[in-house]
């Protein structure tokens, strides 16, 4: 019994080891190529399914195929915000430096996903609804999500003291994550109240199995992409913040 306990506690210890930037930096460096490889594999499979296997939509023709990019980036934009707020909250509670760096690294990726979601949405909306932009609940809340990301990035960028920037950003991210559902529902109810345009995203017909597969593969590809880019950004942030330490000066890539 005590043996098992020992084992699990040493296991936990070994995980906590990687919460120190100097231990995480080389680990992240080793993981990045794998995540890039997975990104390429899932991306190739996803694009192949979405362009060649998935059938042509009866109503929307070929144009609907942007869904395979649009829906996964929208998922990612929302999911990354929650992950970012979780890291930021962990950093605030446990006072671990790496968590805050993770949150800082994820913010631009999430903002990029939100922007891509709006952009591809506009490309989809123009041929299908005849408008680049409609004040639909989902579009509006995605736009607000982009604003929340930009606010987080701007706040972190404008505070010089790194510790304070991390903590202030964490509070903003946590306030934002509480507000995201409130904003979503308020925009949704606002939309049903005003009901200007009569388009609805929710009336989409039941999806073919292959379409779902294409979307899932693309979503996995974007997951791997976000992790890979997130790790690369975290490594850059670690180097920047730990530039004064010995272990950074000892690194091969820094020496040359």
């Amino acid at each position: 019994m005590s043996n098992v306990n020992n084992l699990s506690s040493s296991h936990v210890m070994s995980w906590f080891k990687f919460s120190s930037p100097s231990a995480f930096y080389p680990l992240a460096g080793k993981m990045i190529p794998w995540f890039w490889a997975l990104t390429i594999i899932f991306g190739a499979a996803g694009l192949w399914v979405s362009f060649f296997v998935a059938p042509v939509d009866a109503v929307q023709g070929q144009g609907y195929r942007i869904i395979f990019v649009h829906v996964p980036v929208s998922w990612m934009s929302m999911f990354i915000y929650v992950v970012m707020a979780t890291w930021a909250g962990l950093g605030l509670i446990l006072n671990t430096r790496l968590s805050a760096m993770m949150a800082q690294a994820l913010a631009p990726i999430g903002a990029w996903m939100a922007f891509l979601s709006l952009w591809t949405g506009a490309f989809w909306g123009k041929p299908m609804w005849g408008a680049w932009w409609v004040w639909d609940a989902r579009l509006t809340s995605e736009l607000i999500l982009l604003f929340l990301y930009l606010g987080f990035i701007a706040l972190q960028a404008s505070i010089d003291n790194v510790r304070r920037a991390d903590k202030a950003g964490a509070i903003l991210a946590l306030v934002g994550v509480v507000n995201v559902p409130i904003i979503y529902f308020s925009v949704k109810w606002w939309n049903t109240l005003h009901q200007g345009a009569s388009v609805s995203l929710t009336k989409a017909p039941a999806m073919a199995q292959t379409m779902l597969w294409g979307m899932l593969l693309m979503a996995l590809c974007l997951w791997m992409y976000s992790i890979a880019v997130g790790l690369m950004r975290v490594r850059a942030i670690i180097l920047e913040r730990e530039a004064h330490t010995d272990w950074v000066r000892q690194l091969n890539e820094v020496k040359h």
Binding site: I144, L148, A154, S158, I171, L172, V175, N179, I182, S186
Partner: protein
């Protein structure tokens, strides 16, 4: 409780000594709302339709103008540090500052609103709805704004940054506040809007003073 009233009293006294800062925000509210008819035209039907949105957006912006003042002066002269060190709960003190801000920047908007509403040809029913919605909504604006004011304390370009942080969070208040007036304007049921505004107010009252207090502590640590 004593500390709470003391801080409210102190902040109000400071405002009374320097009335111009507060009056500027109120004039801003009046001027912005008066500019809309000039830009859009004096078509009463159109004005009645846009009145709720225009008045609410102007209320959001003029609340923002006063927010910078909530902690900035006390931060600059070290009063905030003394408040943190005092034996009283810092959250209560921050709540007192928020209440003082609302009394100075929120309540006057509620009282001014009917005058602005008349300019936009709102009927009595809608004016009542407008005042009631502002009465429930402006405290939420002061509360949420205090988080932004605390986070941007002593930061370069703080006031611009604060509007970027806070305005997205104001959206639910704007939607239900303006929605209530709009619904009353066209004769729809408005109880739903008021219930939601009340819910937002209760949520904000419960959590925001605590969040703002920790944000201020981060800024001065």
């Amino acid at each position: 409780m004593n500390a709470f009233t003391a801080i409210v009293h102190r902040d109000l006294l400071l405002v009374m000594r320097r009335k111009s800062e507060v009056l500027t925000a109120l004039f801003f509210f009046v001027i912005v709302t008066s500019l809309f008819p000039l830009g859009i035209g004096a078509d009463t039907a159109l004005l009645r339709k846009i009145a709720p949105g225009v008045i609410w957006v102007a209320a959001l912006l003029s609340t923002l103008l006063g927010l910078q003042r909530m902690f900035a002066a006390d931060y600059a002269d070290g009063t905030l540090e003394q408040l943190v060190l005092s034996p009283n709960s810092f959250t209560v003190l921050v709540f007192g500052k928020i209440v003082a801000h609302w009394l100075v920047c929120g309540l006057p908007l509620v009282l001014l609103a009917p005058v602005i509403g008349i300019q936009f040809d709102l009927d009595v029913q809608s004016l009542k709805a407008l005042m009631a919605a502002l009465l429930l909504g402006t405290p939420v604006l002061s509360l949420l704004g205090s988080v932004g004011a605390a986070l941007t304390l002593g930061v370069r370009g703080g006031s611009v940054l604060m509007s970027l942080l806070i305005l997205p969070l104001y959206i639910p208040v704007l939607i239900f506040g303006a929605g209530a007036v709009y619904a009353s304007n066209v004769g729809l049921d408005i109880t739903g809007h008021f219930s939601l505004l009340g819910a937002l107010l209760i949520l904000a009252l419960a959590f925001v003073p605590w969040v703002s207090a920790s944000a201020v502590k981060i800024a001065i640590e």
